[in-house]
């Protein structure tokens, strides 16, 4: 019995698609470590980059860690990811979303003393969107309001 041409095309195409998607996923998997936009503190402390290599460090700005140096334009803060913490210094204008407890990506070089010297800061917004009216609530109240919207 001959197989209908359209069934043959269907089977061949489905096989081709499975192979194609498998290849795509494998390629993405292989890129897993190369395609990341930044290193988290745990990675950078485990494998410190050479001091002359430009890298990006990303994580959360530790609460209470932002300090302005006496010169008024240099700030020092700590980037953490729950596993490790890296002190960072930066001289310049910070983006408006750069706040404690929020995400940041610092571009710069790792100093020999373990302090990251940033020459550019990018603020990272997370997936949470909270109306401004809620900003004066306590954290617990805000969390409850956010939980109710889920």
């Amino acid at each position: 019995m001959a197989i209908k041409a359209k069934h043959q095309r269907l089977v061949l195409l489905v096989i081709a698609l499975v192979v194609l998607i498998g290849a795509g996923l494998l390629a993405a998997w292989a890129l897993r470590n190369q395609a990341s936009y930044f290193y988290v503190p745990a990675e950078i402390t485990a494998n410190p980059p050479e001091s002359d290599r430009a890298v990006r460090l990303g994580g959360m700005v530790e609460k209470g860690s932002i300090k302005t140096e006496p010169d008024g334009v240099t700030i020092a803060f700590v980037v953490e990811d729950g596993k490790a913490r890296v002190p960072v210094v930066f001289k310049g204008i910070v983006p408006s979303l750069f706040v404690e407890g929020s995400g940041v990506v610092a571009e710069g070089k790792m100093g020999a003393d373990g302090t990251f010297v940033a020459d550019n800061l990018l603020a990272k917004h997370d997936e949470n969107y909270v109306p401004r009216e809620m900003q004066n609530m306590t954290e617990a109240q805000a969390k409850q309001v956010v939980a109710e919207t889920k």
Partner: protein
Amino acid sequence: MHGFANPARFLRIARWLMPLCMGVGILVAGAALAWGLFEAPAERLQGETVRIVYLHVPAAWLGMAGWMGIAVASFMQIVWRHPLAGIAARACAVPGAVFTAVCLVTGSLWGRPAWGTWWVWDGRLTSMLVLLFLYFGWMALSQASEASDGGQSSAPAIFGLVGAVNIPIIHYSVTWWNSLHQPPSITMGKSAMSGAFLWPLLFAMLGFTLIFAGVVLARMRAILADQQAEARLRRKALAAGDL
């Protein structure tokens, strides 16, 4: 689906479905944008700049949906030789590319105040830019195949299916790789977005999706009309040659 294989039947349905999609879509999208721009609150950290989300997210969704449309149509063209599939794929390409471009432009405008940069080469932004280039490539290939053999070739359909690999990469780019772009706020049945932002956003997505559908139907009608006119001219030319 094969009920629509007859272009005349498809045209009868498209004649009223197209203006319906367009009309309702413009109303819903317009109302959702007004809601988002004037009624919805400012965001705690981002302030007023958050309002660009009501254009950015629908554009991102439709940029990806356009290619999913091309991929599904390509599949139907190759397997079932559906007569309208190639036309549907061609009709999806331009609106898909336009929404992808809108997504990239609004994202860039949003990135400057929110992140402090117009552009970064992170996984999400790069894969979305690749999608725009895929659209350009697909449109060029489809036009070339149309010019050389009247759209009989399956090269654009194969390109459409291969290019679809980029869609899950765009979606998972923020999960697989550290990126400056945020992870998704709306996931299966859950939203990390307060309802005050979520509802106008969902209506904007619905409205723009209806507009997209309306544009696709209108373009399909136009392509069919072109083909009919061409076939008529060819018949006339043949008849004139016989005399």
